[in-house]
C-alpha cells in the first residue's frame, strides 16, 4: 500500500495553522499567516501522487476499512491554484486591513482545509463533513465583513446549506444501505448491477444533485450564493468563489461516478448549469454595485463548469475543470481589484466610483485584461476554456447549449465593458490618487495576469493532467445521455 504523509497533511496542516493563528496577535499573526500560506503551497507541490489510508486499514471483506484520500495528477493544478488564491487573499487582507485578526485568518485556513478534503476524499461521508466545514467557515468569513446585511445573507446561506447538507447525508445513508460502505469506489461497485433502477438509489441521486446545486451556487441557489459573495470583504469573496468552483467539481465527479447509470442525470446537471449561467449574467447586468455584479458573474461562470461536467464527454469534462481553474485566476483578480476600488473610492457602488484610469492607468489595464479574460476574448485563458466547452457541446450534439454559452459570453462582455466604462473611463469629480495600494496586492495581480496569459497560450499545461480523469469519467456514462 502506497502511502504519502504529505497527502493528509494538505488537510491537517491548514486545520493546525487555523488553530494556531487563534492564539497569535499583532506582527506575529502577519508573519505566521504568510508563512503558513507558503507552507501549504509547498506541501501541495511536494506531495507525491498516491493514496493515504487513514489508520492503515486495508480492505475488509472486499470493502474499504477506513477513510481513503487519493491524490492524482489532476489534483495538482487545482490544489496549486487554490493554495495560491488562499495565499493571495491572506496578502490582500493583511495589506488592506491594519487590525489583523488571527481568528479570521484561522477561518481562511479552515475553509482551505475543507476544500482540499472535499477534493481528496474517496469517502462520501468524509466529503459531507468537509462540505459542512467549508460552509461554516465561509459564513464566518462573510460575517467578518460586518454589517447587518452580511448577517442576513450569511444566515440565509447557512439555513439553505444545512438543509442541503442533510439532503447529502440522507443520500449517503441510502447508499450505505445499498452498498454497506461509504467509500465511493465501493458504492460504485455495489450500484453497478442496479442499472439505475432502484427507488432508493434514485432518491439518493435526487438528493445528491440538490446538494450539488447548492455546493456550486447553481439554480435555485444562485441568489443566496451571490448575496454571500457580495456581503463579504472582496478578498474573502475571491477565495470563496474559488472554493465553490472546486467543491462544485468535486461533488459533480462523485455524482458522475456513482449515478452515471441514472437516465436524465446529465441533462439535469446541464439544465441547472445553464439556468445558473443565464440567470447569473442577466442579474449581473442589472446591478448598480460592482462587487454584487462580480458575485453574479461568479455564479454565471459556475454554470459553464456545470454544463461541461453535465455533458460528460471527455472534452467537456476536461474543459469544464479547466474553466473552473481559469475562473479562479481572473475572477479572484477582479475581486482583488474590487478591494482596491473599495479602499480608494470609499465603496463599491457605481455611483461613487469613476476616474480610475486617470489616477491608476496600470491598474486599469490590468483590470481590463481580467475583464477580457472572463468575457472569453483571446489570447487569455477564458477564451481557451470557453472555446473548448462550446466545441465540446457541439461535438456532443448540444448545439442549443453552445448557443446559450455564446450568448452568455456576449452578455458577460457587455457587462464587463459597462463596468469598465463606469469605473475607469467615466469623467469623475473626485480625484483618484495613484498610491496606497499595498505592494503585495500589486504582486498578486501581476502574478495572476501572467498566469492567465500563460494558460491562454499554453492550455495543455493544465489540460494534459486532466485528460486521464476526463476519459475515465466519460467512459462511465458513455458521454451524453444514458
Amino acid at each position: 500500500m502506497m502511502s504519502d504523509y504529505l497527502i493528509p497533511l494538505m488537510v491537517v496542516s491548514p486545520i493546525v495553522f487555523g488553530i494556531l493563528l487563534n492564539f497569535l496577535h499583532g506582527g506575529r499573526v502577519r508573519f505566521a499567516a504568510v508563512a503558513f500560506g507558503v507552507a501549504l503551497m509547498l506541501t501541495v507541490l511536494l506531495a507525491s501522487y498516491g493514496q493515504h489510508h487513514f489508520g492503515g486499514y486495508g480492505r475488509i471483506d472486499g470493502l474499504a476499512g477506513g477513510i481513503i484520500y487519493s491524490y492524482s495528477g489532476h489534483h495538482l493544478p487545482v490544489f496549486f491554484m487554490l493554495s495560491l488564491i488562499g495565499l493571495s487573499s491572506i496578502l490582500a487582507y493583511l495589506g488592506f486591513y491594519r487590525r489583523e485578526s488571527g481568528v479570521y485568518l484561522g477561518f481562511i485556513f479552515l475553509s482551505l482545509a475543507g476544500a482540499f478534503a472535499v477534493l481528496l476524499s474517496d469517502d462520501f461521508f468524509n466529503l459531507y463533513i468537509f462540505f459542512e466545514v467549508v460552509i461554516i467557515s465561509q459564513v464566518a468569513m462573510a460575517v467578518a465583513g460586518g454589517g447587518v446585511s452580511s448577517y442576513k445573507s450569511a444566515l440565509k446561506y447557512l439555513l439553505a446549506g444545512n438543509f442541503c447538507g442533510n439532503c447529502m447525508l440522507l443520500a449517503v445513508a441510502l447508499l450505505l444501505s445499498i452498498a454497506g460502505s461509504v467509500n465511493i469506489a465501493d458504492i460504485q461497485d455495489a450500484v453497478a448491477p442496479l442499472h439505475g433502477g432502484s427507488g432508493l438509489f434514485l432518491l439518493a441521486c435526487a438528493l445528491s444533485v440538490y446538494a450539488w446545486s447548492y455546493a456550486g451556487g447553481l439554480y435555485p441557489f444562485q441568489n443566496i450564493k451571490s448575496a454571500l459573495y457580495a456581503s463579504a470583504g472582496p478578498h474573502a469573496s475571491a477565495l470563496m468563489q474559488a472554493q465553490t468552483k472546486m467543491v462544485l467539481v468535486a461533488v459533480a465527479l462523485v455524482l458522475l461516478r456513482i449515478y452515471s447509470a441514472v437516465a436524465g442525470l446529465k441533462e439535469l446537471m446541464m439544465g441547472v448549469g445553464a439556468l445558473a449561467m443565464v440567470l447569473g449574467v442577466v442579474m449581473a447586468l442589472r446591478q448598480d454595485d460592482y462587487q454584487r455584479m462580480l458575485s453574479f458573474h461568479a455564479v454565471s461562470q459556475a454554470g459553464y463548469v456545470a454544463i461541461g461536467l453535465g455533458i460528460g464527454s471527455a472534452v467537456t469534462v476536461a474543459f469544464g475543470i479547466f474553466h473552473a481553474i481559469n475562473n479562479m485566476v481572473y475572477k479572484s483578480a477582479l475581486f482583488y481589484g474590487c478591494e482596491v476600488m473599495k479602499h480608494k473610492g470609499g465603496g463599491t457602488g457605481f455611483s461613487g466610483l469613476g476616474g480610475f484610469m486617470r489616477g491608476m492607468p496600470f491598474f486599469g489595464l490590468l483590470m481590463l485584461s481580467f475583464k477580457l479574460a472572463i468575457s472569453g476574448v483571446p489570447p487569455f485563458n477564458g477564451f481557451q476554456s470557453k472555446l473548448g466547452l462550446m466545441m465540446g457541446a457541439l461535438e456532443a450534439g448540444w448545439w442549443e447549449i453552445m448557443v446559450l454559452m455564446l450568448l452568455a459570453s456576449v452578455l458577460t462582455f457587455i457587462s464587463m465593458m459597462k463596468s469598465f466604462h463606469l469605473i475607469f473611463l467615466r469623467p469623475f469629480e473626485g480625484e483618484v490618487a495613484g498610491g496606497g495600494v499595498p505592494q503585495a496586492v500589486w504582486a498578486v495581480l501581476i502574478a495572476l495576469f501572467i498566469m492567465q496569459v500563460v494558460l491562454g497560450l499554453f492550455p495543455e499545461i493544465v489540460l494534459e493532467p486532466l485528460m486521464p480523469l476526463a476519459h475515465h469519467i466519460a467512459s462511465l456514462g458513455g458521454g451524453g445521455s444514458v
Binding site: 447587518v148 448577517y151 449517503v172 450505505l176
Partner: protein, 117 residues
C-alpha cells in the same frame, strides 16, 4: 432496518421541511432544521439495527455465539456522532446570527428581514 423507525424518520423530515419552508419565524425555521437533522440521524441508526444483536463493543461476555456478526453495524453510529457535532456547530452559529439580527432589526420574521435586502 426497522420500518417503524423509517416511518418516524419520514414524518420527522416532513415536519421539519414544513417548518423550514412554511414558517416565517426564524427560530421555527431553525427548529425545523433540527428535526430534519434528527430524522437523518435516525435513518442512519435504523440502518445499523441488527435484530437480536449486541452493542458493537468487544467486551468479555458480550459477544454471543454469532461472534462479531451478532453486533449492530458500528459505522452509522460513528457517523451519527459526527453529524451531531456538525449540527451543534451549525445551530450555534445560526443562533448567534439570529441574536445579531434581532439586536439590529428588532424582529426575527424572515419575510421582514429578507424583504429589506
Amino acid at each position: 432496518m426497522q420500518y417503524a423507525s423509517l416511518m418516524a424518520c419520514a414524518a420527522l423530515f416532513m415536519v421539519g421541511a414544513y417548518m423550514l419552508f412554511r414558517k416565517d419565524h426564524l427560530i421555527k425555521k431553525v427548529l425545523g432544521l433540527v428535526f430534519i437533522s434528527d430524522s437523518v440521524n435516525l435513518t442512519l441508526i435504523s440502518m445499523s439495527y441488527n435484530e437480536g444483536g449486541v452493542v458493537p463493543f468487544n467486551l468479555p461476555g458480550v459477544l454471543g455465539p454469532g461472534g462479531a456478526g451478532s453486533m449492530g453495524y458500528p459505522l452509522p453510529m460513528a457517523m451519527v456522532l459526527t453529524n451531531i457535532v456538525i449540527a451543534v456547530a451549525t445551530v450555534g452559529l445560526m443562533a448567534a446570527l439570529m441574536i445579531k439580527i434581532y439586536r439590529r432589526e428588532g424582529s426575527l420574521s424572515a419575510s421582514r428581514i429578507w424583504d429589506d435586502e
